[in-house]
């Protein structure tokens, strides 16, 4: 059984086509794996019957030679994607009992290509967090452990997705990234995570956090698997007015193309005070690997980098406060009865939203309120343009950028931090790409002194995911990242 779990998606697809394994066998192995690693709390709902029915259909398709791109591949879905007839909660009490009567475009695309749904994955409540600790279902746990054997966070908000793929309880998983929610957990769990260009994957049917920043993307264990999954997820969708008509490149081919002749920028502003020395060393190592593979490395400047986080913490809460106005106890989810209609709204929302979500709603309401709109929201939108212009400028001279994915490795669950701003710093390297709408990818690149994974981030031009896959492919080969987490299915306990 553990052999099946070791196959990459590309290998599994080949084995399925060759009939050396069946979709039902592969799916059964993953259902067992998910049950075995249940203590990681990375699934909030397992749907084994659903999965086996989908696997049986995949086996029929395979028998007829009508296999889709992901035919028979078992994957997990972040609980932010609406799935017809299967509870979707955004890991919030306020969506308790909500069963969508419709399917998100991204998941519909995956099923159309033959993928099999194992269940719904844990995440931060409404994707607001960087440690998966704001989930109403409790924290998801990172399958990696340091020598002290304490529980570590998988990162967030897509913590369950990263944890499940690393623990081999899903072969791949969907995530969403508003400020780093795919790339940061991918780095913490030693897996590959891509935030595509804004507009590449449809936002339709995904529970909204901050609509001008939200983007769905794939989590996988290899770079080639990631390209395969992106091909299935991405599409133009008339139901999302920001969805792009620009055709996705041949990203599968890009993975093996190498970086010879590419010009790769290293932004000097990404050197931060108090950065983990292992992260600095790995970043340097990454530059050396790319140079050895024939790329030209150049130092570049993105002067407004330090303003990205404060800009994000105006724009994202502002959009969230507006998006989350829909949870009113009337149309779906939780209702707490109270005297008047207004009292019912206030009681429902106070009981249904967790602390971090309430804090962001209040900040967002404040920065949009009369008298403060210009000082905060409009100011942030102007700085956002300057941040985007920084990238536009460097991309006239380089093809991609190489940065660390996170300032440190995964930290302990329950780490007490009184200052919310300190938690925000997890996203310091990832947030700029969301503000500028750029594709960004986190690739596992090594272990730190405690044996925990660290990731490098590759950023690219809008709609140029292919360059990211070229760089990531080289980094993957150079790293030869074969380490596996202790708490994986088929591994030690």
């Amino acid at each position: 059984m553990s052999d099946l779990l070791d196959l990459s998606a590309v290998e599994a697809r080949a084995a399925l086509d060759a009939k050396s394994i069946s979709a039902t066998e592969l799916t059964s192995a993953y259902i067992k794996a998910a049950e075995e690693t249940a203590s990681l709390n990375n699934y909030v709902l397992l749907t084994p019957d659903h999965a086996l029915a989908m696997a049986a259909r995949a086996d029929e398709k395979l028998a007829k030679g009508e296999a889709g791109l992901l035919e028979g591949i078992p994957l997990g879905v972040k609980d932010l994607f609406c799935t017809t007839g299967v509870a979707t909660t955004a890991c919030s009490r306020i969506l308790q009992g909500f069963t969508p009567p419709y399917e998100s475009t991204v998941t519909a695309n995956l099923w159309a290509e033959g993928a099999v749904m194992l269940g719904k994955l844990n995440c931060d409540e409404f994707a607001m967090g960087s440690a998966n600790e704001t989930s109403a279902f409790g924290p998801a746990i990172n399958p990696w452990q340091s020598a002290e054997k304490i529980d570590l966070v998988p990162g967030g908000s897509s913590g369950g997705s990263a944890s499940a793929v690393a623990a081999r309880s899903a072969l791949m998983a969907t995530g969403t990234d508003t400020g780093g929610s795919i790339r940061q957990p991918a780095a913490f769990c030693g897996v590959v995570g891509l935030k595509p260009t804004y507009g590449r994957c449809s936002r339709w049917g995904i529970v909204a956090f901050a609509s001008s920043l939200d983007q769905a993307g794939p989590f996988t264990r290899t770079v080639a698997d990631n390209a395969l999954m992106l091909q299935a997820m991405a599409s133009h969708d008339a139901k999302d007015s920001t969805s792009s008509v620009v055709q996705l490149q041949d990203v599968m081919a890009a993975v093996g193309q190498g970086v010879s002749g590419m010009k790769i920028g290293v932004p000097r502003e990404y050197v931060m005070d108090g950065m983990d020395p292992d992260v600095m060393a790995l970043w340097q190592q990454g530059q050396d690997w790319l140079r050895q593979a024939g790329a030209e490395l150049v130092e570049v400047s993105l002067p407004h980098t330090k303003y990205a986080l404060p800009t994000y913490y105006i724009i994202a809460p502002a959009e969230a406060s507006s998006n989350l106005a829909r949870y009113d106890g009337v149309r779906y989810g939780l209702r707490v009865e109270a005297g008047s209609l207004d009292q019912m709204y206030e009681a429902t929302r106070a009981a249904g939203f967790g602390e971090e979500v309430q804090r962001r709603i209040l900040i967002g309401t404040y920065v949009l309120s009369a008298g403060y709109y210009d000082a905060y929201y409009l100011k942030a939108q102007k700085v956002r343009r300057l941040i985007k212009q920084d990238f536009d400028t460097v991309f006239t001279t380089v093809d991609a950028l190489l940065t660390p994915a996170t300032p440190s490795a995964a930290f302990a669950v329950g780490r007490k931090i009184d200052d919310p701003v300190v938690n925000f710093l997890n996203d310091v390297f990832t947030v700029p790409a969301n503000l500028a709408g750029l594709p960004g990818m986190s690739v596992p690149a090594g272990l730190n002194a405690d044996g925990l994974p660290l990731g490098l981030q590759v950023l690219g031009k809008p709609y140029d995911e292919a360059s990211l896959y070229r760089v990531a492919g080289v980094l993957e080969q150079a790293t030869a990242f074969t380490a596996t987490p202790t708490r994986r299915a088929g591994g030690a306990k």
Binding site: R349, L362, P420
Partner: protein, 95 residues
């Protein structure tokens, strides 16, 4: 621009969030911490900068103004905490 208890009560009301009296002060302190940090943006000169609302660079697509959905009252109401006769039910708003 510092936030006090009264301001928290006002924005909580605008956001339809019940924040209990004894939480107003702590919430004000948390928000001030975040707002002080955000104030860093004031050092960036932005006088002649246009605000950026969309990164896509293309205009929103238009479509024909026709009905593309509907006739699914049951599905719309399926998740409602309370419904009756094809309507959502809310607490009484008219005396």
């Amino acid at each position: 621009m510092s936030v006090d208890k009264t301001t928290v009560a006002k924005i909580a009301r605008l956001a339809r969030l019940n924040v209990p009296e004894d939480r107003l002060e702590p919430v004000a302190n948390e928000l001030n911490g975040i707002l002080d940090w955000i104030a860093e943006l004031n050092e960036v000169p932005t006088d002649n900068v246009e605000p950026l609302a969309s990164v896509t660079g293309h205009a929103l697509p238009m479509r024909d103004d026709v009905v593309t959905d509907g006739d699914c009252v049951d599905r719309v109401l399926a998740n409602a905490p309370e419904g009756a006769s094809g309507f959502f039910v809310v607490p009484k708003v008219v005396e």
